[in-house]
């Protein structure tokens, strides 16, 4: 310690003039308001700005200059031997000199800022709360940490350049290599919207850089001593060795974060189910991975899965679409640089072929496309920025591309209907070429349009008008019927022609909800003062069965795991309703269904449930046996 203090104080003594110059510079802010053209800014603001600017510039310049000279110049000019011919431990030479450089730099900056802050009674921290420097309590320590980082970086660079050793070639190769690898890891995390992990990575790399520079300088002085080339060798070996380890750790951490499996999911944010077959798409937060929320395409029968590069937070992508036959899945993945997202690329996966892997198609979309997949999965239709296109997935050929009528469509839904026909359902905001005002929007219309893939012509079939509210609407699983909410009633239309078919209403209760079932039947959720009633209608709209539940329960339809069976959930109580004989069977008291009423017996969705702590199970409704799909748990 005696040696450290001796070196430290000697360095301060030798460079004491710097502090005197800083003290003189601290007077400049008081002269600055006298400069013509600054009066309109206010004297205090000018003083603050000039003092802060001078302080930052002084700190940056001194850090670079002192870092480049305190050890490196002594080494190259063969003066370091003075210390090494004295009874000084190597560490005290290194630490004493670098501590003195840091003290001089921060001291000079503080001296420049001090008179202004004393005269104006200002809080220095207030200058650093712009958000770029982090939260207030950490702002000044954060800025102060940059000084030793700059000093050490400048020192390392100076030793490398001054030594004129061949190790400079290694430096020139290692620096960009490590930068590229770390940037790559950061890109991967940002691309997957793992922002917390990316922030941690940046902090880790910054800390690793600081420690590596510190260790490199220490080892350089300890092992290289007065030999410039040997010093350079040890500096480079330690620096790049440490940073390489840090880089590998960063890469490993990024790989580990992005290598989450369905078992790591600690909850489910969104999911989609194939209408037929065991495949589901599920996304949610992964355990111990910050805000990373991976999306998986998962075979619930075999636990085979694919990680999709579709961050749930990327609103443009819109999830996975399955073909009606359950063979194909398509989804969008973002392309381009993280900061300049390009078009989203369409990928597809053959779900029936063993060993198949996701395949990039030649189709990509700008903006936020609304997609539909043909029943056999061979065609994809999309509405992007007022344009409807139909492409063949096999070769990316565009079969049709039409501009939609000039209107603002807030919602659009596409449905293939047999070979060569596509129906586009659009919610219109324009009437007679005029954009509706805010009040009129509540009287939206739905336009039914039919695209003939043979001639590529779009034909307006019908517009359903007079909808008094923002329409809530649904299509039957076969796409043949359209259900629209109209006040307390539900209006049923032919989805291909727009012809009204029926009006569903309840005289003695309040019709809360209305959903299609897999077989085309309809379930009505009716609220009474003391109870909730589920009414099940056949596809022919005849009443098939009624079930009553307690008033406090919020009823949710959750798929049809077998013909004639309907699963409903009230909170975590899951019951199976037998539509044939009207019996009710409790399936579980601690699960919540993931599926929807449209998930029929052929879909895994009707058998998926989530526990209170986020675990996802496949449950056999017949036996009640469970198999974990996503472990969740935290």
């Amino acid at each position: 310690m005696r040696g450290f203090l001796a070196v430290f104080s000697r360095e301060l003594l030798e460079r004491r003039l710097l502090l005197a110059v800083a003290l003189l510079a601290s007077l400049i802010p008081f002269v600055a308001p006298l400069v013509p053209g600054t009066r309109h800014l206010g004297a205090s603001d000018v003083r603050h700005g000039v003092a802060l600017g001078l302080g930052v510039i002084a700190a940056a310049v001194l850090a670079v200059v002192l870092g480049a000279t305190v050890i490196a110049r002594d080494l190259s000019e063969r003066r370091l031997g003075f210390y090494f011919s004295r009874p000084l431990p190597a560490w005290s030479v290194w630490a004493g000199k670098l501590a003195a450089a840091t003290t001089l730099t921060l001291g000079a900056a503080a001296l420049i800022l001090l008179p202004t802050s004393l005269v104006d009674g200002i809080d220095l921290r207030a200058w650093w709360t712009s958000g770029y420097f982090g939260p207030d309590p950490l702002a000044i320590p954060f800025a102060a940490t940059l000084v030793p980082l700059l000093i050490l970086a400048s020192h390392a660079l100076s030793v490398m350049v001054r030594s004129r050793s061949p190790w400079l070639i290694a430096d020139l190769l290692a620096a960009p290599l490590i930068a590229v690898v770390i940037f790559g890891a950061l890109q991967r995390l940002l691309r997957e919207a793992a922002y917390a992990a990316a922030s941690s990575l940046v902090l880790f790399v910054a800390a690793a850089l600081l420690l590596a520079l510190l260790a490199a300088a220490a080892v350089q002085v300890q092992q290289g001593r007065t030999d410039p080339r040997r010093s350079h060798r040890f500096l480079s070996l330690t620096l790049w060795g440490s940073l390489l380890c840090a880089t590998l750790a960063a890469q490993g951490a990024a790989t580990w974060v992005l290598g989450a499996t369905p078992g790591d999911l600690k909850g489910v944010w969104s999911f989609a189910t194939s209408p037929a077959g065991p495949w589901i798409e599920v996304s949610g937060p992964a355990a111990h991975r910050g805000d990373y929320a991976p999306t998986f395409l998962l075979d619930s029968a075999s636990d085979r899965f694919f990680r999709l590069h579709t961050p749930p937070s990327d609103y443009r992508l819109g999830g996975t679409h399955f073909s009606a036959d359950g063979r194909w899945a398509v989804w969008l993945e973002p392309e381009g640089h993280v900061s300049r997202p390009g078009p989203a690329k369409l990928l597809r996966l053959d779900l029936r072929t063993p060993g198949a892997v996701p395949e990039r198609t030649t189709i990509s979309y700008e903006g936020q496309p609304g997609l539909a997949l043909s029943p056999d999965g061979s065609l994809v239709a999309a509405i992007v920025r007022g344009r409807l296109t139909v492409d063949r997935l096999e070769d990316g050929r565009t079969l049709a591309a039409v501009e939609l009528p000039r209107h603002r469509s807030r919602l659009g839904r596409l449905r293939f209907a047999g070979p060569g026909r596509l129906f586009a359902y659009l919610v219109l905001d324009v009437q007679d070429g005029k954009v509706q005002d805010q009040d009129d929007r509540w009287k939206s219309r739905i336009g039914i349009n039919e695209l003939d893939l043979g001639d590529g012509k779009l034909r307006s079939v019908r517009e359903i008008e007079g909808l008094s509210e923002d329409p809530i609407w649904g299509l039957s699983p076969d796409g043949g019927r359209l259900l629209l909410r109209q006040g307390k009633e539900r209006h049923l239309f032919d989805a291909r022609t727009g012809e009204p078919l029926a009006i569903l209403k309840v005289e003695d209760g309040d019709l809360q909800g209305c959903q299609f079932l897999a077989d085309g039947g309809i379930a009505l959720n009716v609220s009474y003062p003391q109870a909730i009633e589920l009414r099940v209608l056949s596809p022919e709209l005849t009443e098939r069965r009624r079930f009553r539940f307690g008033k406090s329960d919020r009823l949710r339809l959750a798929g049809q795991p077998a013909p004639g069976r309907l699963v409903v959930a009230t909170g975590f109580l899951v019951q199976e309703l037998n539509l044939d004989n009207g019996t009710v069977r409790v399936l579980s008291r601690d699960l919540m269904p993931l599926g929807t009423s449209l998930d029929g017996p052929a879909s895994a969705g009707s058998k998926l449930f989530q526990s209170r702590d986020g675990e996802v199970f496949w449950v056999d409704p017949a036996t009640g046996s469970r198999r974990p799909i996503a472990h969740g748990g935290s």
């Binding site: 005696r2 040696g3 203090l5 001796a6 000697r10 003594l13 030798e14 063969r78 003066r79 370091l80 031997g81 003075f82 090494f84 011919s85 004295r86 009874p87 000084l88 431990p89 190597a90 092992q223 001593r225 007065t226 030999d227």
Partner: protein, 302 residues
Amino acid sequence: MSAIAVEGLTVRYGRRLALDGVSFSVVPGAVYALLGRNGAGKSSLVRCLVGEQRPAAGRALLLGRDAWRERAAVLAEVGVVPEEPQAPPALTARQLSRFCSRLYPAWDEAGLIARLTRFGVPTDLAFGRLSRGQKTQVGLALALAPAPKLLLLDDPTLGLDPVARKAVFEELIGELADRGTTVFMTTHDLAGVEGIADRVAILAGGRLVLDEEVETLKLRFRRISYPQEAAEGRSERLAALAPVAAASRGWGVEAVVVSDFDEERLTAAAAGVPGGRAGVEVSALTLEEIFIALSGAEGGSR
């Protein structure tokens, strides 16, 4: 315990071998002079001794301690005068003295100032503004101020004028007379060192080719010269006396240097040639002449 013990010391710079298994020791109180041509490895040896250079093999012990591992502890008892005068250029001799005084257990500042005054070195002038000779004198004064047990001097008179060189050696002689400090020095100043060195070693091509008491060395080496006209067959007979370290020719005189001179063998060898012993002169060599003979064009085999 030896003041200095060097064992199998090897130093490499890349592929170049600067020191090749050098071993020697210096007894306490001795003045040991290491001689060698430029590039012989002297400075590498000194850097190893002060713990600035890590040897590729072997070790260097100062006062019984490893100079690389325990450099700071060792140097508390050792004064070092490097080949190039080194000190922060902005500091004066007094400031340097004050800095160094914090590092040593004992520090004779008054003695240091007195010594510099004797040298005629200004104590309040920045080190960077002193002449080379003055810088060396400041370095010597700083090295002597802690009253070291061992003094290491790396060519301390290099580039000094005769007056400054004389002052350095006088100071050393005084130090030796007063305290009996062990001195290890590398030098090219053979005339200067001849009067004070007890033992001398010669380094050539990274190897130690000689390590001997100065007195026995000077007794062992002789120049044998004879007229050139009587040289017929004489050179061969005289050369049989001992290995010829070096030979010279000029002014009608043939001369050889023998490293293990013996009068009786010379007489016997001269008896068999015309003229016999007559005309053959035997003379002693200076340390410089021995050094040149050993380190000359022949490369210096013993």
